[in-house]
Symmetry: C2
Subunit: 118 residues, 2 copies
């Protein structure tokens, strides 16, 4: 890379280190996918409820006030992204959180938006 840094007020050595240490493409891809999962109100609500109780699909649908199909699709999304897990009992599926980081993520984000009104 050569076209870097036309604005010369930063240390070239340091910038090179920054480029060398940049997260690789796969990491960026996974990070953006991960955050996208939290970037939807319906999924956030689902995650909130699941952070409190293990719940079946019908109850989640009633809690977030969405159709069963919509919730089912979103649970699939959350499952594929390893944020929730299922336990089947007869015909009903019980979902719960599958990640210890969800809580931390919520907390930092809440901190951020609460400090926003300065």
């Amino acid at each position: 890379m050569d076209a870097i840094c036309k604005c010369k007020n930063i240390d070239k050595k340091e910038l090179e280190r920054t480029v060398a240490e940049q997260p690789d493409a796969e990491t960026i891809e996974r990070l953006s996918t991960f955050f996208s999962v939290f970037g939807d109100g319906t999924r956030l609500k689902i995650l909130y409820y699941l952070s409190r109780h293990e719940l079946c699909v019908a109850d989640l649908a009633s809690l977030v006030q969405m159709g069963q199909s919509a919730v089912s699709h979103q649970l699939r999304n959350l499952r594929l992204n390893r944020l929730v897990k299922v336990r089947k009992e007869g015909t009903t599926s019980y979902y719960s959180l599958d990640d210890e980081h969800v809580q931390s993520i919520f907390e930092v984000a809440l901190e951020h938006i609460n400090e926003e009104q300065r």
Copy 2:
């Protein structure tokens, strides 16, 4: 609310408390918007570079390998969401992070995706 909890294996009192304490619509809205900002590779890269240096638009464009216009649009997005701030000097705009939480957010998310390959 009444249609709640057809699956009766959870404590009704506790569920009512969960509903009572649920984040309000505005909080959900702000949270999902906040996370959406992180849900894009280009913006993640920009945030990474800005976490290391204050940089002008042209340099950012060269670093993330995108057109000036695309980067400018994304910086606008980040600015409106209060994650970056600008400092103007003549015709050039220097951008830097405007949020102490960005680093924490990155860290928790990286922890998550790194533990993913079990």
